[in-house]
Amino acid sequence: MTTTVDGPPDTGAGAPARGASSLVEAVFRAREISIAGALALLILGTYLANPRFLSGQGVRDLLLNASILVLLAVGQSAVVITRNIDLSVGSVVGLAAFACGRFVAGTDHGVLAVLLLGAAVGVVCGLVSGALVSFGGVPALVVTLGMLYIIQGVDYWWARGDQIGAAEVPDPVLRLGSGSVLGVPYLPLIALVVLAATASFLRDRASGRELYAIGSNPEAALLAGIPVRRRILAAYVFSGAVAGFAGALWLARFGTVVADNAHGWELTVVSAVVVGGVAITGGTGTVWGAALGALLLTTIGSVLVVLKVDSFWQGALTGALLLLAIGVDRVVNLRMTAALRKRSARHGNGV
């Protein structure tokens, strides 16, 4: 028999040092590049139609608006990568924002305490959802739908129509939402830090890679000795913590909170993540892509305003974009599998 050794096996020294796997990444980097391209085109087109869109204030608003969605998309990505979904994030933001509002109203609590409280509220919600999904073994969609209801109900019940106004929120907290360093607002910076840290974790940590492994093939992950349940739980806790944290930032940004803050955002978040190339079937995608997806959806919203298009179109566009993204994913995936199968046919048959 002959064993074929074509292809360069000496990938050790000469090959590019970076990249978990360049071939896989190349495909998905292509996705990120194409979204970035679409985003650039969209911005450029809108700028040509209305130059005010790229004024200092315009960009600031865009970044501020995108920050919270980016954060939520980062948290959601960790869950979706494990082939699960967290539909409760919108209501977690609402509950955390309201809890933080109640906590600071008329007091002089510090920024750190508010952020920690927000994250803590999110952690509790994430723990419940995550425990039900991972240890209860029930479908994520159903559980988190139920949690959406429960958290929303608790929030409404607690608020009873109250709202907290900016006048009651201490200044340092509001400054977090409106202040900036070197002209860059704090919120986008915070989102960027969380994004970079999560990206690094998912790429360079064993437990980060295990999230991909779980989403790619859950049975194989069990056989490989990966603590699947604990990892899924951790993903939900992370998503919850980020959502709670985002709730605290919501308070800082808007000053005013009512019970139905971020109501219905879960679908926007899921759309952003999927548009950004994180497959709803798990195992692939990066948080950078998800963040780009969030930026794209936010930008579309702003563009509609700038171009004076009826804002009612935004929902329909988000849905259409989501369908387009998963459709393209599917086609690319089929093509890639076919291409790889051909390659392996050339490799394998040493007859």
């Binding site: 194989a220 390659r343 394998g348």
Partner: protein, 514 residues
Amino acid sequence: MNQPAEDPPPAPAPAAPVLALRNVSKSFGAVRALHEVSLTLRPGEVHALAGENGAGKSTLIKTLAGVHRPDGGQLLLDGAPVAFHGPADARDAGIAVIYQEPALFPDLSIAENIFMGRQPRRRLGRIDHRAVRGATAALMRRLGVGLTPDRPARGLSIADQQIVEIAKALSFDARVLIMDEPTAALTGAETARLFSVVRTLRDEGAAVLFISHRLDEIFELCGRVTTLRDGRLIASEPLAGLTADALVRRMVGRDLDDLYPKQDATVGEVALSVRRLTREGAFRDVSFEVRRGEIVALAGLVGAGRTEVAQAVFGVDRADAGEVRVDGTVLRPGSPTAAMAAGLALVPEDRRQRGLVMEMSIERNIGLTGLGELRRHGLVRRALERDRAADWALRLRLTYHRLADAVGVLSGGNQQKVVLAKWLATGPSVLVVDEPTRGIDVGTKAEVHRLLSASAADGLAVLMISSDLPEVIGMADRVLVMREGRLVAELPRGSATEETVLAAAAGVGGRAAP
């Protein structure tokens, strides 16, 4: 047996056992899967595990792999008792299991698949991606294969997936390699490559436990064999001096004189006629006929396009060109419904995914192909459905508790009988069977052969795809051989031998007549 090191052997001293089971028992509810079974694995040996389906082989493997915990008895690692609390424990002890269909992460690269959970780290616990890829490349060189570390596992052939699993075993210096029917889906060349890798590992001092339904492979590769029957240890002995018949006797507990009970049948008119059938990337210009009363085998290596032809004939895959006729009626391409209406039936290779709805009852599975006939005023007649199922269960000597039980609880052989019943119940004129006896025990195998033979004698046209050469030779009136998507030979019963079929399938020796 207790102190093997002190035995004074004639040959080089057998090494101390690396892994052993001593009087291990394991039950699932009321079922005794293993009853006081002992097994000893030594470094540098390839040890076969033989037995029919349901003999307890899978349970034994899973016990060694840390998936099951034994109810009684001991697991000894280097002579000391151990308890595995999960697959990770077994892996840490240097035990690697390669399953028939490896479970890889399709979205991750080969390198990541191999090192998942054990990646080399840099500072601050970050994964050293470069080291992971370098180590993978080194493993691939050692195994003599040209798989690129970076390519994703998606789309790898089963043989390559097994290579990845073996590389994984090497990467943590596994001392025990357990291979559960690794060759079931491999071509001859792939099997040969796998065997050479296994021999290399053996010579490097690994202990290999090898499970296969193919006796020739056991004799070719292994030094010792342990035989299980009904969860009990029958024998553990060297293969040298053992005949295939003796081994089969140990496995089934009786003689199997008529494994291939081919009856002579009068050949009638053409029932299935395939003309220049083509599906791009799978097969080209395939033409043949099957007559009533005939069993025609479609032989060839895995990947030669046989299953693809069967699926295109039946219409679950759409052919790009060509024509299929059943009893003179031209079939609409890509329509299983049309094929069934014309009298065609397909027993697919993958019983669990394609042949049966595992959680549905026996009667409903059998009824699924006959919903049209079972209907009156649009409603399914349940009594008729049950009668029909009971009738076929009796004819096929199905072993079951109740017809309302899910087929999933039946043994593999009985499941295959349900698939056959489901299709024979449609009263087909052409039956296409794809690997009809794969993974079923020797006893049921003979029953399936008897059934096929009797059905052909009753005027059914049978097209049988099989990778089991003795089955092809034993059962077929004519053998068609495919290679690389083309029909390359047609051998009548008299001239079809394992050698001629294999030569045509592999494309070696004299070119067989088309």
